[in-house]
């Protein structure tokens, strides 16, 4: 329970133009994107839709930049009480929980496909009758290399998971290195946090730079792996359920790493500007929570997509 004093100073801004225009930016973004996708599918020119999406995204980004600037400015002006800062802490925690649930949907889909859908299609288990009626020749394996109907979904040539438990294999296995990179980056961002609390700005900047660099290297390797998947393994989005789950899980994770790296880069810029104080740096802390979360998701991915 908060003290009486902090209640008296809870800052409620009088008015704000930010969210209304952010909504306009958001709706243009998605309306444009929807248009682009539909235009491509209908083999029509997507120029107008692209411009709508770009305008929306530009507006949304601009507003969000303004929004964060305003909040930072207000905090520096001392308008934020301890109680208000706790609201941000609750806000970020629950936001991360919502992200966990987003990934849970895809992990859940992977679980269902591997343990129920594919075995049943292969004629095994309680509902094996499905497979016996639909595609009797289909043999359930994971990863699925031979699709139930390879006429509709082209088979991948090879899977990208761990299929050999040797040192030589892991030494050349990109996801393994990516795991090491991300775990290391979680440690370095923690060092940056320690430096921040010790009021050592130089070390904060150094460790944060290392973290951002590791994020970029991770993304670089991830792109490398995608190129390999498409060019050498024939593994694409449309090569059946293995490619579908593989690309959506790693893709959304990669998207979150991109966002996380961007956020940490912003934090780096703010650290250089001297925004953070040992007792007042929730922006940084929230970014580091987000980064740890992205790291944990990757560990889950590495286990369930690549290892088992």
């Amino acid at each position: 329970m908060a003290s009486v004093g902090s209640h008296e100073t809870y800052y409620v801004p009088e008015q704000t133009k930010l969210p209304f225009f952010a909504s306009i930016g958001l709706v243009f973004t998605v309306y444009g994107l929807g248009g682009v996708l539909n235009d491509i599918k209908a083999a029509e020119s997507a120029t107008t839709s692209t411009w709508i999406a770009l305008f929306g995204f530009g507006l949304l980004s601009f507003i969000l930049f303004q929004w964060f600037s305003t909040v930072i400015r207000e905090n520096h002006a001392g308008m934020n009480s301890d109680q208000l800062k706790r609201s941000y802490v609750w806000g970020m925690s629950w936001f991360i929980f919502s992200e966990v649930m987003f990934f849970a949907a895809f992990f859940g889909a992977l679980y269902y496909v591997r343990n129920f859908a594919v075995p049943w299609l292969g004629g095994e288990g309680d509902k094996g009758i499905t497979g016996q009626i639909l595609w009797p020749e289909f043999v359930a394996t994971w990863p699925v290399i031979e699709n139930p109907s390879s006429a509709v979904f082209t088979n991948p040539e090879e899977a990208l998971n761990v299929h050999e438990w040797s040192l030589a294999f892991f030494a050349k296995f990109l996801p393994f290195w990516n795991t090491i990179i991300l775990i290391t980056s979680s440690v370095t961002v923690h060092f940056a946090h320690t430096a921040l609390k010790a009021e050592n700005r130089k070390r904060l900047i150094q460790w944060l730079s290392v973290t951002v660099a590791l994020g970029v290297v991770f993304l670089f390797l991830q792109v490398e792996e995608y190129i390999e998947a498409y060019e050498h393994y024939g593994l694409t989005l449309d090569s059946g359920i293995y490619g579908s789950t593989f690309f959506l899980l790693t893709g959304f994770h990669g998207f979150h790493v991109t966002l996380g790296t961007f956020i940490l880069a912003v934090m780096l810029a703010r650290a250089i500007k001297g925004h953070f104080k040992p007792n007042d740096h929730f922006g940084f802390e929230a970014a580091s929570w987000y980064w740890h979360f992205v790291d944990v998701v990757w560990v889950g991915l590495f286990i369930f997509v690549y290892l088992v």
Partner: protein, 528 residues
Amino acid sequence: MSAAHDDHHHGPAKGISRWLFTTNHKDIGSLYLWFSFAMFLLGGTFAMVIRAELFQPGLQLVEPNFFNQMTTMHGLIMVFGAVMPAFVGLANWMIPMMIGAPDMALPRMNNWSFWILPFAFAMLSSTLLMEGGAPNFGWTFYAPLSTTYAPASVTFFIFAVHIMGASSIMGSINIIATILNMRAPGMTLMKMPLFVWTWLITAYLLIAVMPVLAGVVTMMLFDIHFGTSFFNAAGGGDPVLFQHVFWFFGHPEVYIMILPAFGVVSAIIPTFARKRLFGYDSMVYATASIAFLSFIVWAHHMFTVGMPIAGELFFMYATMLIAVPTGVKVFNWVATMFRGSMTFETPMLFAIAFVVLFTMGGFTGLMLAITPADFQYHDTYFVVAHFHYVLVPGAVFSIMAATYYWLPKWTGYMYDERLGKLHFWLSFIGVNVLFFPQHFLGLAGMPRRIPDYALQFADFNWISSIGGFLFGASQLILLVVVIKCVKGGKKATAQVWEGAQGLEWTVESPAPYHTFTTPPDPKLIHAQ
């Protein structure tokens, strides 16, 4: 509230900018409520089209495909546009006042949560005008109807769901932060009004499942546009996977639409029975239990889809368990009324109708939970009758009860009691004439979502349609009552209702633009 505080007591801004740029929880609450009412009329109009077409057998008014668009849009708009925003509106208005907070925890984000919605629903509604028509695959948008066989507008439907989900998540984060962080000194968790408790748990459910909804529509998007095969068995996926992920969202979602209603009714019944709520603690625990159970019952929507028998049994028994905490609640409401000095103003009438009719909807839910029986009921009008009983005289009646109950606090005037009662009785008769015969239709085998039917269903259908038109038309009375009440009437006192307890009744009516900028006297906070 001395003169020293005057600079914190600005009134609202002038003109339209007050509504576009407001950070005030009361303004945002009003926006949500008006938006919800507009969507209620729009979704209601679609329902009128459905009932008009079903008035007699044969195809008379609309094409079957347009009929499907109507059922789909009716469901989507009522669930996401009418019921959910109405409860968020009530939360915005009441939670800060009930816990003695100056405003919502994150006022700017609060504005954003609201203003996404009109744009999202404009985009969703615009699909009606698009080539190929609006989504026509039912509000549950099962694959492959919503993927392989969907109209092109499905892409916009998906993005609309994405952004209204973002709105819900932000709104819920705000509500949780407000409740956990903004309570006045002395307002311990177990002293919070039940409406606040039910919303805390609802917000938790929303944050847990809206991202799963986002996940499932994302999988649809990729199946449609990028060639993935999540819901296509030819590539090793499974259309049933769609149903599992959707209902993992969908079942908690139906409790999202009813838990705040429990909170409303738990506020109103004690006031008009002039007794304290019976079994406050058990109400809190029952709400939490219902929320927990809501995560492990989803496949009772899919009994006929071909699940292993162990799954059928598990989901049957888990579903039946829900009757226990729900029974606790109904018992407590009845016990609260027992030997109370009851009066029957409009909010109380709606609240009592809620208890009776929601319980009926709950009983038909129990019937549907019995797996072997469900094979007979599945996808018939019996299901339609069941969920409309819990949603219309359930959720919607509670929203109306809340509106009448707190309207004097919002406007400063008493509403027209005579018109309110007229609204209640017409709605009560209308809703039962509308939905009760649908039980019989379903048991006799009439399928849902079909624009035509066999001749033996004709009588109950025209009775149902007459009830539908009556119910639909009577909602305009609510609009009249609210407008009249905003414009004037008998001045309301601070307490408004003789038996009303709680912090919101300690501030004057209408509630000042800013309330509790300093925390209330802890002596005003009583145990429930």
